[in-house]
């Protein structure tokens, strides 16, 4: 634990008195709070680096910045065991296919942190023909960390922001306890360009429009 604030005392509901000598060992709190408190402090990130930003992610895990102070150091290579996907770098069209697949394989509750300009919106390579303008075009993102690359401090700030988000959730409303199966995100296809199956209808309409325009054009000329 980093400091007293996030320790047991912080967890305790001050409206319910506990004898002073027990305050360091007993806390009375709501299920929501203890559930979120536990989750927020043992986020396991997916061991997964994409580009330059991944180097700063490694630096954040190394001795100087040491993310284990926040319970985040257990990097898991398997999506099945990870809670947090750090999209650390440029997402290319070729790579977004495995990323969506990996995201679908992660067990809920799962979170996504977009690290750096590229993952957030395309970054310096945005206009590149093989570059995706931000991972949020395909999968939902919880926290965006700006920077190119973000410094390790910035990444840690992103983690803390994520912890805040987790602590604001409630068991009653979180999607993963609703009945029914959760829907997977359709895997993009590699065609003449990347294809998001969710846009199939839009692609058809565009093609029809273009065809109509092409039919109209020669008569004008």
């Amino acid at each position: 634990m980093t400091n007293g604030d996030s320790g047991l005392k912080a967890l305790h509901n001050p409206d319910i008195p506990v004898p002073e000598e027990l305050q360091s060992t007993i806390a009375i709190t709501s299920l929501d709070r203890i559930y979120n408190w536990c989750r927020a402090r043992s986020m396991w990130p997916l061991l997964f680096g994409l580009a330059c930003c991944a180097i700063e992610m490694i630096a954040a895990a190394a001795s100087r910045y040491d993310i284990s102070r926040f319970g985040m150091e257990v990097m898991r290579p398997s999506p099945r065991q990870a809670d947090l996907m750090i999209v650390s770098g440029t997402v290319t069209k070729k790579m977004v296919v495995p990323i969506v697949r990996i995201y679908n394989q992660m067990a809920e509750p799962k979170y996504v942190l977009a690290m750096g300009a590229c993952a957030s919106g395309g970054g310096p390579f945005k206009e590149g023909y093989n570059v995706v303008s931000g991972i949020d075009k395909y999968i939902p993102v919880d926290v965006y960390v700006p920077g190119c690359p973000p410094t390790p401090q910035a990444l840690i700030h992103g983690f803390l922001t994520l912890q805040k988000k987790i602590e604001s959730q409630s068991l009653r409303t979180v999607p993963w306890y609703r009945s029914g199966e959760s829907t997977a995100i359709p895997i993009p296809l590699l065609g003449p360009d990347i294809i998001d199956p969710r846009q199939a209808e839009l692609i058809r309409r565009q093609a029809e429009q273009a065809a109509a325009q092409a039919a109209a054009a020669p008569s004008e000329a």
Partner: protein, 618 residues
């Protein structure tokens, strides 16, 4: 172990002699490239392989450094393949060979039979430029996927977010409008489909091309061990795999545990440096070079600066970089080398299964150096520090932090003291520490010695560069072979090892770090002496006038020879900007090196090449 190959004798101008000899031998097929600002010979495609063989065997240009294509749309309407060949290990300037093909024909003979190192580079030219190479055994897309629409590096190919051929775009400057490119795209993202395309009659090409030619072997094979029967099996390592050094993928065919074949699959980080680079002004490319091999941004900067300076030197008012600028450049580059080699060694250990602890030790000193970079250039990793004719800023007087709370202890040291401490104390100690812990470690010795051997002839043939080449007993280092900056006046040895296995590559990196420290020690007094002198020559022009012509600038990067091939048509932007990435070309040898080893050795061999995907895929 270390020796100095600089003591070789060269004739006055070996390249001119070679060209004369070739013209005499092939009077009909070889002509000199007489365009202004260009060098080398133009060869008739019919005789390309024949001439190339003579170039290699008779003239001794046995090393194909870079092979790339240029689209001269509207300037003769042909594609030109440009080959830069060198003598290894003798050194000296390149013999540049060119072959042209009309744009509508787009076919050239493959030179893979002469220089096997052309393999991936020809595939890249096929993928991005659409040139077919006759005789190439495996001509398929390498960075993009099969089924991709068009060949993006052709001048008439436009990307989805296309605005104009050249920056600065009118929409952004001088009016300064801000908009998001997505808003102008009908799909709201970076895509563009061919006319009339719908999903109705579309079947994706899928994964099949990656497995082409692999005999999945349903037949059970009998191995030499009597009674043990093994199946052939195809295993995919990557692109998401904890030990593939980024988004790299290998399709491995195994027989039991033994590797029969390994095909690298890449392009998962293909960020289109070259297309973007053609849109950018010359200077705008500098920050992009940072992101090639993102561990070594400083030395990437230097290579690009050298290439453009070479072009600028064709013009009338060129001034070479000032002496202080050169000293600072070499300082940055050698610090970077140490960082990179430390990183490589740390993560090699990761690949051997010593998860993360050795890496933590190996990258501890990196933080000190990054703090220095940050104080000088403003960024830890993406330094964007060099400029044409010098560097962006002089070293600060002090390296200091900002106290946030009243009693904060922050660093506050004179820059030169800080550097002296790193160079004289910290780095040598850290290198010794690694050496002590690792060199005689039993596990390292057993897993690395004799594994992944690359014989010297093969290293040269496959265009391997850097530590990979030198650990195979070829003493070739661009800093000595074709010296640049102030390296000629610095005292250092070209490290070389002779076994060509993982262990020697590791030892070679240790040797090289020691040599770097030796260089750094010589720089400290030079920094003191030149204090206050200008750090850039000429004006700090944002868009210098770059004369027409071509230039190939290469530096000895920690990963190997990094080259930039830049073509200027006299405009504000490069006509062609190509990066010869050492990590990419070093991978050509990965398949042959892993053959016959166990599957667990693959990652160790890959780790010993030390690739960075930003540079592999570009």
């Amino acid at each position: 172990m270390a020796e100095n190959p600089a003591a070789e004798v060269t004739t006055a101008n070996p390249v001119a002699e070679a060209i004369a000899a070739l013209k005499a031998q092939f009077p009909d097929a070889v002509t000199e490239d007489d365009r202004k600002g260009y060098t080398g010979i133009v060869v008739d495609p019919e005789s390309l392989v024949e001439v190339a063989t003579a170039v290699r065997d008779t003239l001794g240009y046995n090393y194909l450094s870079s092979a790339t294509a240029v689209d001269y749309l509207g300037k003769g309407d042909y594609f030109e393949m440009v080959y830069h060949t060198y003598r290894v290990p003798a050194g000296g300037p390149p013999l540049v060979i060119k072959a042209r093909t009309p744009r509508d024909k787009a076919t050239l003979p493959s030179v893979i039979s002469v220089w096997p190192g052309a393999d991936f580079q020809e595939r890249e030219a096929y993928d991005l430029m659409g040139i077919r190479f006759e005789g190439h055994p495996n001509l398929k897309r390498i960075l993009l996927w099969e089924g991709f629409d068009g060949h993006p590096l052709r001048k008439d190919w436009k990307e989805a977010y296309y605005e104009q051929d050249q920056k600065p775009f009118d929409s952004r400057w001088p009016q300064g409008h801000v908009h998001r490119a997505e808003e102008r795209n009908p799909y709201g993202k970076n895509v563009r489909y061919p006319e009339g395309f719908t999903l109705d009659d579309f079947t994706p090409v899928g994964e099949a091309p990656n497995y082409e030619g692999i005999d999945l072997g349903v037949n059970v094979q009998e191995m030499t061990t009597p009674g043990l029967k093994t199946d052939r099996l195809v295993v995919n390592l990557g692109p998401h795999h904890p030990s593939t050094h980024g988004v790299f993928r290998m399709v491995v065919t195994l027989n039991g545990e033994t590797v029969e074949d390994l095909q690298p699959v890449m392009g998962y980080l293909h960020r289109n440096h070259e297309k973007i680079g053609e849109r950018n002004t010359f200077l705008q490319n500098m920050p992009f070079t940072d992101r090639l091999d993102y561990i070594t941004s400083m030395s990437n900067n230097l290579g690009y600066a050298l290439a453009v300076e070479r072009l600028l030197s064709l013009g009338p008012r060129y001034q070479p970089p000032t002496y202080r600028a050169e000293v600072i450049r070499v300082l940055m580059v050698e610090l970077t080398r140490v960082v990179s080699h430390m990183w490589a060694i740390g993560f090699l250990l990761n690949d051997l299964g010593a998860f993360y602890t050795p890496a933590l030790y190996a990258i501890a000193e990196r933080e000190l150096i990054l703090d220095f970079f940050e104080a000088v250039a403003g960024s830890r990793m993406m330094c964007n520090y060099m400029r044409f004719g010098g560097v962006f800023k002089d070293l600060p007087e002090r390296i200091q932090g900002i106290p946030l709370l009243a009693n904060d202890r922050v660093r506050n040291e004179a820059t030169l003291d800080y550097l002296a401490n790193i160079i004289n104390e910290r780095l040598p100690r850290a290198i010794d520490e690694l050496d002590n812990y690792l060199t005689n470690n039993e596990i390292i010795v057993t897993r690395c010695q004799g594994v992944g051997i690359l014989p010297p002839e093969m290293a040269i043939a496959y265009s391997a560069a850097g530590p990979l080449l030198r650990a195979s007993g070829v003493p070739y280092d661009v800093r000595r072979a074709e010296p640049y900056s102030i390296y000629p006046e610095l005292d250092f040895d070209v490290a070389v090892r002779y076994n060509g296995d993982i262990y020697d590559r590791y030892l070679l990196r240790i040797d090289e770090m020691r040599q770097s420290v030796r260089i750094l020690k010589q720089l400290l007094p030079r920094l003191r002496e030149t204090e206050g002198q200008p750090i850039i020559s000429g004006s700090k022009a944002y868009s210098p006038r770059v004369p027409e012509g071509e230039a190939y600038g290469r530096v000895e990067n920690p990963k190997g020879e990094l080259g930039y091939y830049v073509v200027s048509d006299g405009g504000q932007n490069p006509w062609r900007y190509h990066v010869r990435a050492p990590s990419y070309i070093n991978l050509t040898a990965l398949g042959p090196m892993t053959k016959g080893h166990k599957v667990a050795d693959i990652v160790a061999i890959l780790g010993s090449i030390d690739i960075i995907l930003g540079e592999v895929d570009r």
